[in-house]
């Protein structure tokens, strides 16, 4: 019986690689269902056969924990990430991120591509950071909110938007964009990918997989993808 | 085998108010375009629901708005030959023909497939689909489809209008056989007096949604003036003849009736067979004295029983030829010239080539 993992879609590359090495080392496998954190959380609420949930933000994990659908004992902060300001690779924009920096001026009549600032974690973190830096009000009207952070990245990569706010993990892997600057970690809530066993899950291998995720082999893969590994032995 | 119809219905500005009954046989619905013929048989067939009225055959109620009875079309066992053929375009001719057959218990079947196909001359079309058939071919298949379903009541809406004379001449006897042998009542819409005269046992004349005359064909056809417009040209009398023999020398069929001896085109009969002939009023020539050296073979002595003026220049002359009643149509001028009066003895002369059995 493979372990069923519900994981945020942005973890696909890393988790697929880890899953492969886990099955090579231990002969056990995980079946991983990737989707948006919100969809996954709701599905677990409706009795989905998930053994392990890895969310892209803390809110949906909290949503499940309030409903006693996850084993709070097993919950841990697995990964961290950073948000960065990106521009198309061929752009010459130079901008240093600091309180009150002239983001609006750098945009001109262009758009700032972000993930949905109310709903999608990357968007929420970005909005919080800009608010902390005191520039949100000046650019609020110029934000193009994409469905998710990948779509925001795409807008910059195609040159539709001169600037965008995305995860570091996405930015470093995309040759068509250039990182203009990284937002200070204290300008927004910490970016955390929590993981936890579900209360409904019966597969005993799930805990083993969760442990494996925190092991050295997994760490190497996560870091290769640009994540900060928060939990570990 | 009777049919009782009483209907009232409004169609836009057109009001239908019809009542007639038929003792069976073939009832012709006759009347000008737009007089309501199709509407009436649609109601008999169950395709339209009259606003009020009652239709029954042999006591079986098909519709009665008073008791809110309405037998749906598929339970009526009618065979409807539509004015437009309405063949099923996705079925082959054969499938069209046999469509209704499966709903009839074997014992009640009378419309034989092979015979009907042969008669209608559609054997070579059986595997085709209707779309590209000619107008007359379609209509023949529509007739076949209705008959092969072995209905208990047949409705025909101008079934022969799109057929050529030769084909008509072949099909008419078939309809007659149906009327006489299968004992299925037939309601037959037609514009053609010749057809009606030949086929109808009863006639209902419609005019603007009302019955303007109804009764046995004999009476209606004799009362020529009842027929609207130019149809009057086609009126005449129907007589019953006894077959005597096929004359070897002349090649003609000899018949007898009270009026005398009749010569008709050759036909296969056994002595004693009775046939009807329809004698058109306009085909009868009158003479006040015996004639000699004329080509016409049928000459009967009779007595004038009535002189009925009809259109401005014409007159109908009713004759009693030893019990056979004939009506002739001649000009008033001739009547005056010959000095015709009621009771006068005259000769009625008809050419053999103008006579046909029916």
């Amino acid at each position: 019986e493979p372990v069923t993992v519900f994981a945020a879609a942005s973890l696909k590359n890393a988790l697929d690689a880890i899953n492969e090495s886990w099955s090579q080392e231990e002969g056990r496998t995980a079946t991983i269902s990737y989707a948006g954190s919100s969809a996954l959380a709701r599905q677990i609420e409706e009795g989905a056969p998930a053994d392990l949930f890895i969310s892209a933000d803390l809110d949906w994990m909290a949503y499940l924990s309030e409903r006693a659908l996850i084993d709070t004992q097993s919950e841990r902060r697995l990964l961290g990430n950073r948000i960065v300001l990106v521009a198309p690779a061929d752009a010459t924009t130079e901008l240093s991120i600091a309180p009150g920096f002239d983001l609006a001026g750098a945009l001109g009549d262009g758009r700032l591509a972000m993930a949905n600032v109310d709903a999608v974690p990357a968007g929420r973190y970005g909005k919080a950071a800009l608010e902390t830096l005191g520039v949100w009000d000046s650019v609020a009207d110029k934000v193009a909110q994409a469905e998710n952070v990948r779509a925001a990245l795409q807008l910059v990569a195609l040159g539709e938007a001169p600037l965008g706010i995305v995860y570091q993990t996405d930015a470093t892997a995309e040759p068509d964009v250039r990182v203009v600057g990284t937002f200070p970690e204290d300008s927004h809530d910490p970016i955390v990918y929590p993981a936890a066993l579900t209360t409904g899950g019966a597969n005993t291998d799930a805990a083993a997989f969760l442990d494996y995720l925190q092991g050295g082999a997994a760490r190497a893969i996560f870091e290769e993808q640009g994540f900060t590994v928060l939990a570990g032995d | 085998m009777s049919l009782e119809v009483a209907l009232r219905h409004k169609l836009g500005a057109f009001a239908l108010d019809i009542a007639f009954s038929s003792p069976g046989g073939l009832t012709a619905l006759f009347g000008p375009s737009g007089s309501g013929k199709t509407s009436v048989i649609d109601m008999i067939g169950g395709l339209m629901r009259p606003e009020s009225g009652r239709i029954s055959t042999d006591g079986r109620v098909l519709v009665d708005t008073a008791t809110d009875t309405f037998l749906p079309a598929h339970k009526r066992r009618i065979g409807y030959v539509f004015q437009d053929a309405r063949l099923f375009p996705h079925l082959t001719v054969r499938q069209n023909l046999t469509y209704g057959r499966r709903f009839v218990a074997g014992a009640e079947r009378y419309g034989d497939f092979d015979e009907t196909v042969a008669l209608l001359g559609i054997g070579h079309l059986l595997d085709r689909r209707p779309a590209k058939l000619s107008g007359g071919e379609k209509q023949r298949i529509a007739i076949g489809r209705a008959l092969i379903a072995s209905p208990r009541l047949i409705l025909m809406d101008e079934p022969l209008a799109s057929l050529d004379d030769a084909r008509k001449a072949e099909i008419v006897p078939f309809i007659e056989r149906l009327r006489d042998e299968a004992r299925v009542p037939i309601v037959y819409v037609s514009h053609s007096v010749a057809e009606v005269a030949r086929l109808a046992s009863d006639i209902v004349v419609l005019d603007r949604g009302r019955v303007s005359a109804a009764g046995p064909a004999r009476d209606i056809l004799a009362g020529l003036d009842l027929l609207p417009g130019a149809a009057g040209d086609e009126g005449g009398s129907r007589l019953l003849l006894n077959f005597a023999r096929l004359d070897a020398q002349s090649g003609l069929s000899l018949f007898q009736s009270p009026a005398g001896n009749w010569h008709l085109p050759p036909s296969a009969h056994r002595p004693g067979d009775r046939v009807t002939v329809f004698v058109k009023a306009s085909d009868i020539l009158l003479a006040t004295k015996p004639l000699e050296g004329i080509s016409a073979l049928n000459v009967f002595s009779g007595r004038v029983t009535a002189l009925r003026p009809t259109r401005a220049h014409e007159i109908l002359v009713d004759l009693d030829c030893n019990g056979d009643l004939l009506t002739a149509r001649i000009t008033r001028h001739s009547a005056e010239r010959l000095g015709l009066f009621e009771g006068m003895a005259v000769q009625a002369i008809v050419k053999t080539v103008r006579l046909k059995e029916s």
């Binding site: 069923t4 519900f6 879609a9 942005s10 973890l11 696909k12 590359n13 079946t31 991983i32 269902s33 990737y34 989707a35 969809a39 996954l40 709701r42 599905q43 409706e46 009795g47 989905a48 056969p49 998710n148 990948r150 993990t169 996405d170 470093t172 892997a173 995309e174 993808q225 | 067939g45 169950g46 395709l47 749906p72 079309a73 598929h74 009526r76 066992r77 009618i78 065979g79 409807y80 539509f82 437009d84 309405r86 099923f88 375009p89 996705h90 469509y99 209704g100 709903f103 009839v104 085709r128 689909r129 209707p130 779309a131 590209k132 489809r145 209705a146 379903a149 409705l155």
Partner: protein, 233 residues
């Protein structure tokens, strides 16, 4: 052409998609025909409501449809429980659920096409069949249905194509579990969510397009053959 080669998981997704879309189409066809016939030929109270209901999945964002399906047909949903106890049929997180989602999303398209072609059948032909003694159900099967066949074929294939492409409702309802509910579009979605996934997304998209196109071409040929048969010879 090496990049066109599929991984075993992707093959599974392709097979599953075709399987799911075929079931979605086949199982909803009788209902589609029934509803289309009712809308085309009957008048009854609540007809406008039924018509609206049928079109609902077209109007709602797929995510909402998926969520409503999750609520109704989930393990805890009233309809889900009904089907489980009465027919032993479980939708949640099974391929059956994916088929249900596809069927629901494709239903309006199917019904529209069939309805239009039933409306185009000359009712006088049905009358003619009635006079020949055929009861209504027989008329429907031998006259109405065959004459509406081109539209039924069109509607069915349209529904198949839609079910093949359906994604939003499916992933929301039954998640994205490889081998069970991961259809081609879900797999494509997953690829778009990670850096470097474009080639994979492209590959799967081409396959999806090829399958749906094959179905479309087949339907065209079929419909033309049916029409030609009716036109004669």
């Amino acid at each position: 052409m090496e990049w066109l080669q599929l991984s075993p998981d992707e093959w599974t997704a392709v097979r599953l998609s075709i399987w799911v879309a075929s079931w979605a189409t086949a199982a909803s066809l009788p209902f589609g025909i029934l509803v289309a016939y009712a809308l085309a030929r009957w008048s009854f109270p609540g007809k406008a409501f039924l018509n609206g209901l049928v079109h609902l999945p077209l109007i709602l964002p797929p995510v909402v449809t998926g969520y409503l399906l999750l609520l109704a047909f989930g393990r805890r949903g009233p309809l889900g429980q009904f089907f489980e106890t009465v027919f032993g049929l479980v939708f949640s997180f099974r391929w059956t659920g994916a088929a249900l989602a596809g069927a629901v999303m494709a239903f309006p398209l199917m019904v529209r096409a069939i309805r239009l072609s039933i409306e185009a059948v000359d009712p006088r032909l049905e009358q003619a069949a009635g006079t020949l003694g055929a009861p209504p159900a027989f008329i429907f099967a031998t006259v109405t249905l065959p004459l509406a066949l081109p539209g039924i074929i069109a509607g069915t294939i349209l529904a198949f194509a839609k079910a093949m492409g359906e994604f939003g409702a499916t992933i929301t309802f039954v998640s994205n579990i490889p081998g069970q509910t991961q259809t081609l579009p879900s797999a494509i979605y997953t690829f778009t969510q990670v850096p470097g996934g474009d080639a994979g997304a492209m590959r799967l998209t081409l396959i999806a397009v090829a399958v749906a196109m094959a179905a479309l071409v087949a339907s065209e040929i079929l419909a033309r053959r049916v029409l030609r048969r009716m036109e004669g010879a």
